[in-house]
C-alpha cells in the first residue's frame, strides 16, 4: 500500500499524472497518437496482408512439409534469428526477439496470440540442395541482406549472370510464398479451418 502511494506520488512529481491520479492529457494524447500511427501502418498498402503472410509462413514452417514447389522442386522455409512483431490494438506496438530459435519460442507464440503479427523476419529457403537466406518485411516484401547460394561459374561475366539469375530466383521464391498464401487466404477454409488452427498453435504454449 505504502509502495503504491509512493509510486503515485513519484508519477505526480514527474508530471505524468494529475492530483486525481489520472493520466495527464498530453500523456493520453501521446498514447493515442502512437495507436493511430500503428493502425495507419497496418492499413497502409494492406501491410496487414504481409504480416498475416509472414505469420502464416512461420506456423507452416514448423512442419517439415514443403511450403510450395518451385520448378518442380519442393521449397522448405525456416525462420532463424531476429524476428519483429507488430500490432495496432494493444498496449505493445512492437516486440523484438533475438536468438536462433526465437521465432518458434513460447514467448513469441504468446505475443502472436495477443494480437501482434510478424512484421520482419530472417528466413531461409531451401530448394533442393541450395539455400537462400533473406530478411523480409511485411510492408514492402523487399529482399534485404540476402545470401545467395554459392556461385558455380568461374568467369567474371558468367558469375555476374549467375548472380542476377539467382537474385531473380529469390524474387520468384518470395512470389511463390505470396501466391501460395493468397490461394489459402482467399479460400473458404481460411476462416473455417486455417485461422482456428493457427490460433490454436499460437495458444498452445499460453
Amino acid at each position: 500500500m505504502r509502495r503504491k502511494s509512493a509510486s503515485s506520488e513519484a508519477a505526480f512529481l514527474r508530471g505524468e499524472v494529475g492530483v486525481d491520479g489520472e493520466l495527464l492529457e498530453a500523456e493520453q494524447d501521446a498514447a493515442a497518437v502512437e495507436a493511430d500511427d500503428a493502425r495507419a501502418e497496418l492499413l497502409r498498402g494492406r501491410t496487414y496482408l504481409g504480416r498475416e503472410l509472414l505469420t502464416w509462413m512461420l506456423w507452416r514452417s514448423e512442419s517439415t512439409d514443403p511450403l510450395f514447389t518451385h520448378q518442380d522442386t519442393p521449397v522448405h522455409v525456416n525462420y532463424a534469428g531476429r524476428i519483429t512483431l507488430r500490432g495496432a490494438l494493444g498496449e505493445i506496438t512492437e516486440l523484438s526477439a533475438k536468438g536462433a530459435l526465437a521465432p518458434y519460442s513460447a514467448q513469441v507464440k504468446r505475443a502472436l496470440a495477443s494480437g501482434l503479427l510478424v512484421h520482419t523476419a530472417r528466413l531461409t529457403f531451401t530448394v533442393g540442395e541450395r539455400s537462400f537466406e533473406v530478411s523480409l518485411d511485411a510492408e514492402h516484401l523487399d529482399v534485404k541482406s540476402a545470401k545467395l547460394p554459392e556461385l558455380m561459374t568461374e568467369e567474371e561475366d558468367d558469375r555476374e549472370q549467375e548472380r542476377l539469375h539467382l537474385a531473380d530466383e529469390l524474387g520468384a521464391l518470395v512470389d511463390g510464398c505470396i501466391r501460395t498464401f493468397l490461394t489459402v487466404r482467399a479460400s473458404r477454409s481460411w476462416n473455417t479451418t486455417v485461422v482456428p488452427e493457427l490460433r490454436a498453435w499460437m495458444e498452445e504454449d499460453a
Binding site: 496482408l49 490494438l89 503479427l117 542476377l164 501466391r179 482467399a186 476462416n191
Partner: protein
Amino acid sequence: MPLTRGAVTFSRFRVRPGAKELPSDLPRSLGRALRARAFEPLDRTGDEERAAGFVELEAEDGVEFASGSVFRGDHALFAYRVDTLKVPSSQLQAELKKWLEAFEAENDRPPTRGEKSRAKTELRDMLRKRVEPSVRIHEVSWNLKTHELSIWSSNRRAVEEVALAIESLYELSLEPRVPAALALEAGIAEDALGPTPELIGGAAGAEEATHAA
C-alpha cells in the same frame, strides 16, 4: 557494386505499360531514354545542392548507354546517381567567425547586416568549390523477358525516387511485388482480403469474430 558482389538488398517491381505501350524495340530505345534523363554533374558556381540522373552501371560518370554497357542476357543494367553538395554549417560558421574578427580589427566597428550577409554568401560560394559532393549510386536491373525490375538499395526514399525516375522513362508503371498487387494479378476480389480479426485483434478479436459468425 551490390549487384555484383556481397549481400543482396533490393526492392522488386513488375513493369506495366502506362498510357502508352512499351516500345517494341526496347533494347535499342532504352539507351536513348536513359540518355535523355542522364546524370548531369552539379555546377559548383551555381546554387543547386542536388543533382540526380541515370548513369552506366560500370562507370559512375558514363552516360553513353551503348547497348554493350547496358544489356547482359535478358537484363538491362544501369544505375541512378544522386550527388548532394552541401556546405557544412559548422564550417561556414567557423569561416564567418574568422571574417568577423578580421573585419572588426580592420574597421574598428562591427559589420552592418548587409555586409555580413554579403560576406556569408561569398564564403558559402568559396566553400562550395572546396567541398566534395556526396555520391550515392542506386543500381537497377530490369529483366526484359519477365518484366521484373529490381532497385538495389536499402534506402526506401531512394527506392521511391528511382522508381519515379524509371516510370518517367516511358510513362510506365512500377508495381511493387506485395500481396495486394499479386492478389489483383490473380483476380482475387479486394473485399475477400480484409484484415482477419482473429489474428489482428488477438483473443478479443477471435471472440468478436465468433460472435459475429
